[in-house]
């Protein structure tokens, strides 16, 4: 692989790191600098594309929205829907969402490929990341299909995706974060929970039908309560 080919690849996939590219980067400081620039750009591109403005996500969707409802004037239906939506929005708006939860969602949004992993990783690989970043050991087996050491709030933290019977669940082990109590949240189509542990916080995030609290308890046990 030459410099032109390496840069084409890095420009197309800034996080790519196959054997050929790794070999080239090991002996080419200019291309390493190029990769760093592209990864910096990529982080900002993800920050631009990821957030969802509240105004675009407000109305709920249902296939029944378009079905005719005999006997109910359309203006009355619209007014009812508007009232319910307004009340729901007001109630929901009053519920504070922890800043930590927002940061976790923003981070996960920046790694959309994590959700599509399907191959269960070797336990040793998962344990290494958990130990080096959070100092915790895996006390029980889990089907981890994605495991990375990610920069988060100025530190490296384990970012895992665990396969469950109900779909994939993201787990971030946040050693230096503290929450006073278990905090459930729902942001941008994700629901999750921040679970306080004796030595940090476990963040669990899902986007399907899994109960994040139940999964968080299981993860906590698998991590030995982060003791």
């Amino acid at each position: 692989m030459n410099c032109g080919q390496a840069r084409l690849r890095l420009g197309a996939e800034p996080d790519a790191l196959d054997a050929g590219l790794r070999d080239h980067l090991a002996r080419c400081p200019e291309c390493r600098a190029f990769r760093d620039e592209m990864q910096c750009l990529e982080r900002d591109v993800r920050r631009v594309l990821a957030p969802i403005p509240a105004a675009m996500g407000a109305p709920a969707w249902s296939p029944r929205r378009r079905l005719p409802r005999p006997g109910v004037p359309s203006w009355a239906l619209a007014a009812s829907v508007a009232c319910v939506a307004l009340a729901a929005a007001l109630l929901w708006g009053l519920r504070p969402v922890p800043a930590l939860a927002r940061d976790v969602v923003a981070h996960v949004e920046g790694e959309p490929q994590s959700w599509s992993s399907t191959v269960v990783l070797p336990r040793a690989q998962v344990e290494q990341i958990l130990w080096q970043d959070a100092g915790v050991k895996l006390a029980a087996s889990a089907d981890v299909v994605y495991a990375r050491s990610c920069a988060f709030h100025g530190r490296h933290v384990p970012h895992l995706v665990v396969r469950t019977a109900s779909g994939p669940v993201t787990v971030m082990v946040l050693r230096d974060e503290r929450v006073p109590r278990a905090e459930r949240f729902a942001i941008q189509g994700y629901s999750g929970i921040l679970l306080p542990e004796p030595r940090g916080t476990i963040a669990v995030l899902e986007r399907g039908e899994v109960d994040p609290a139940r999964i968080a308890e299981q993860i906590s046990r698998a991590l030995g309560g982060m003791n």
Binding site: V45, R66, P112, S116
Partner: protein, 189 residues
């Protein structure tokens, strides 16, 4: 492996079905709708149009929900349907030309409303100004998490062409950072 998105509706709303699965599908679609809207916006650069695209895409998906075999792949499945609905919209009718500068100004405040990206206005504008041939693969990759092979299949391009388009997209954005554009190289054989 992604589920194959539907080309045509395979069943109609109102068919007998277990209420629990209907409710589960409604919840799933409702939860993913904000992400689909955002994705559609970056495809068509117009909020009202994006809402139409997503509404049509969700109705199409609803009719074909039985073809979704793997719930874990639902997001990719729905994003693909949105992308195809967007392409269909352009095939069905010649859309009015929009004033891009005005559209960007109008949407800018709302896009920045996400909170995290307030200081990234120039980059946001630069992405909006990318031609479709660069912006759509970039959106599929970054927002959708599609691999270059999946983008190639979806856009009916060679994988080398997708790599080149993604490279050129980011190369244009590099200029914003005061970085010299990298010289272009033909894809490796």
């Amino acid at each position: 492996m992604r589920n194959t998105p539907p080309e045509l509706p395979v069943c109609l709303p109102g068919e007998p079905e277990a209420p629990q699965s209907v409710r589960a599908a409604e919840r799933l679609f409702g939860r993913l709708r904000p992400q689909l809207l955002r994705f559609a916006f970056w495809l068509c650069r117009d909020r009202a149009l994006a809402e139409d695209v997503v509404q049509e895409a969700l109705l199409r998906a609803w009719r074909a929900r039985d073809s979704l075999k793997d719930p874990a792949a639902s997001r990719g499945w729905l994003l693909t349907i949105v992308r195809r609905e967007h392409a269909r919209l352009y095939e069905r009718k010649r859309l009015e030309t929009i004033d891009l500068e005005r559209a960007i100004d109008e949407e800018s405040a709302e896009l920045a409303g996400g909170g995290a990206a307030e200081e990234l206005g120039e980059l946001r504008t630069a992405i909006l100004k990318l031609p479709d041939e660069y912006r759509i693969p970039l959106t599929l990759q970054v927002m959708g998490g599609f691999s270059t092979a999946e983008i190639a299949a979806e856009l009916q391009l060679s994988q080398a062409a997708v790599l080149t388009r993604l490279f050129r997209a980011r190369n244009r954005l590099r200029v914003l950072y005061g970085l010299a554009p990298a010289p272009e190289e033909d894809p490796a054989p």
